[in-house]
């Protein structure tokens, strides 16, 4: 049995991971992005173990705006805090927050989307109206207002507030796919055999959406990194005591810092840019491997 399967794979069209792998081989930039990003995330997570956050965030006015290489490798900000350490912890925070938001919104989106698309009817109608409403409101403003309203503000509440407004895109996508999928023969056949709806959704419909979802989640991940750093930049993201890439960039709001102390804000900006580009490149390559028409390999 196992052998048969293997042979089928060999002779048949390449599937799943094989296609993605070939797509990455064809697109050198995506391959490099993937490699660099994995390396970068590993480095950031391992290096942050060796950094004492309290000591890092301690203000030390002697080192105020010290140049790169003077005492710290990448210089210090106006509080005399090491930029390199803040970059590492900040990047770790950004990645983990964006990941958490992506997973939460992904989960809600998939569940809601599957229910709407598969069952249809009035459930679908009501939830779709709610989603339509979420799409039409200016979510960025609402996130900012909620962030300032929450009494005990922490990273967890930040993640939850963001998730509250960002799950609708995935839900819509999953719904439209589940809608067309649930009209296919294999679903009707399964229904006739008496399979329960839950099993059909989880074991039969969901796997058919998985490749699409991986693409969607990757691109969402990039978007969430952008939104998190953007909100932190405006001062409505992470609390100021937590090192964050957005906060580092926001020091540039002071024209003096922007002009003279470029080492405070430029590395963080470039790091954000690097992460956004790399994740998006990977997402694009994955998207091509999902869509037969666009494949390079």
């Amino acid at each position: 049995m196992r052998r048969k399967k293997k042979r089928y794979r060999k002779n048949g069209r390449p599937r799943g991971i094989g296609v993605a792998f070939r797509e990455f081989q064809k697109d050198k930039i995506a391959l490099v992005s993937l490699f660099l990003l994995v390396l970068f995330i590993l480095f950031v997570f391992i290096a942050s173990f060796f950094i004492d956050q309290e000591q890092l965030m301690r203000i030390n006015l002697y080192d105020r705006y010290s140049r790169p290489g003077e005492k710290y490798l990448l210089g210090a900000d106006q509080g005399g805090k090491d930029i390199l350490g803040q970059l590492i912890i900040g990047a770790r925070n950004s990645v983990s927050i964006a990941l958490a938001i992506t997973l939460i919104t992904g989960f809600i989106g998939i569940v809601v989307g599957l229910i709407c698309g598969y069952f249809g009817g009035w459930v679908d109608y009501i939830i779709m109206r709610i989603i339509d409403f979420f799409v039409t409101i200016p979510s960025l403003l609402f996130i900012i207002v909620f962030v300032t309203l929450v009494p005990k503000y922490s990273i967890t509440s930040f993640i939850l507030i963001m998730s509250l407004f960002l799950w609708t895109g995935t839900a819509r996508l999953v719904r439209s796919k589940a809608l067309s999928e649930s009209k296919r023969d294999y679903v009707s056949a399964s229904k006739t055999l008496g399979t329960s709806d839950f099993v059909i959704l989880r074991r039969e419909v969901a796997p058919n959406l998985s490749s699409l979802l991986i693409v969607e989640l990757t691109l969402n991940f990039a978007g969430n990194v952008g939104i998190e750093t953007g909100l932190s930049y405006l001062g409505f993201g992470l609390p100021p005591t937590t090192p964050s890439l957005g906060t580092l960039v926001s020091y540039a709001n002071n024209p003096a810092v922007l002009q003279q102390y470029w080492w405070v804000w430029l590395p963080a900006s470039l790091l954000i840019l690097f992460m956004m580009l790399a994740i998006n490149y990977i997402g694009q390559a994955l998207r091509r491997s999902v869509d037969v028409k666009q494949r390079l390999g």
Partner: protein, 320 residues
């Protein structure tokens, strides 16, 4: 045609009501009341109660909501306590600034995106096409605030081609040509940033439209008639592909509104976005509520505009 527009307008009513309820609840959740800033430690608590009664703050919430909506419809959103003036006139001033910025941005955006989209579609798979696709990818991936800061640093401070903040220089006399030019000059850098960030959607849409159009029957007919290729592109394909692009306008405006918070803050441009951020910082809740309501309304208006243009252009998607 008119039926569709009316139906679409009616569809907007529940959305507006839902939006207003949320904003109202939000306003109630916010700490403080309309007297913030007016009360000193020696104010008599009984007097405060009296004032509250007078303004109806002790009424049940639904009644308060109806009153709030009534006032809002008449353009009365209360007073800003940091600026000590009517919220409506304050926002009106800023909204005008934001309008001009958005106006210039949209024009620049289309001036930039249409030629790039056409070239990419026409010379598909050429080096130029690859470059344009790459460009639109970068501008899609780059966060607004990073690009704005880099531009401000490079063009504002290093090269000093553009002013680095404000909407107009103080020494210029209002009403003169110089004044208008000066304002335009201040708008230009943020508008260019805006335009560059917004091009992705239009370029990709136009490019794929043109690539699709190449194999259409009407193009083949034109070619067999002997119409030169250049003319087919400018007259036949462009006209067909441009219509959906026009429908993008509404979405573009919606996108601009979200970006205005970042761009106006970074470039120090006194528009609605900047007002929003500074009001949040100073906890000026009446301004915040009015702005959220206005942004929500404009976003709804943007999608309405897109839907109407689309239904004019493409009769297939009219609402049943």
């Amino acid at each position: 045609m008119w039926k569709t527009i009316v139906r679409r307008l009616i569809l907007m009513v529940p959305q507006l009501i839902a939006l207003s309820i949320i904003v109202f609840v939000m306003a109630k959740m916010m700490p403080g009341d309309p007297f913030t800033g007016m009360i000193t430690p020696d104010t008599d608590p009984a007097r405060i109660e009296e004032l509250k009664e007078e303004l109806g703050l002790n009424d049940p919430l639904p009644i308060q909501y109806v009153r709030w909506v009534k006032n809002a419809l008449q353009g009365d959103f209360g007073k800003s306590y940091t600026f000590q003036r009517d919220v409506t006139s304050l926002i009106g001033e800023r909204a005008l600034n934001t309008f001009w910025l958005s106006f210039v941005s949209v024009i620049l955006l289309y001036l930039l995106a249409i030629p790039l989209g056409i070239l990419a579609g026409r010379y598909q798979q050429s080096r130029l096409d690859k470059f344009i696709v790459f460009y639109s990818f970068i501008t899609y991936a780059i966060p607004t605030f990073v690009l704005s800061l880099l531009f401000l640093y490079i063009f504002g401070y290093k090269l000093q081609w553009f002013p680095t903040g404000g909407s107009v220089d103080i020494e210029v006399e209002p009403g003169t040509i110089q004044y208008i030019w000066n304002r335009f000059y201040h708008i230009l850098l943020p508008a260019i940033t805006y335009a560059i960030l917004g091009t992705t959607g239009v370029i990709q849409y136009l490019r794929s439209e043109i690539i699709d159009a190449k194999t259409m029957d009407y193009v083949r007919t034109a070619r067999s008639k002997g119409v030169p290729m250049r003319k087919i592109y400018t007259k036949h394909i462009f006209r067909n592909s441009f219509i959906p692009i026009a429908a993008f306008l509404g979405f573009t405006i919606t996108g601009l509104l979200g970006g205005s918070i970042f761009i106006e803050t970074i470039f120090g441009y006194p528009g609605m976005g900047q007002l929003f951020v500074s009001s949040i910082a100073s906890r000026d809740y009446s301004v915040i509520c009015a702005l959220v309501m206005l942004y929500g309304f404009l976003t709804l208006l943007g999608s309405l505009l897109s839907d109407i243009i689309l239904s004019i252009v493409d009769p297939r998607i009219r609402i049943e």
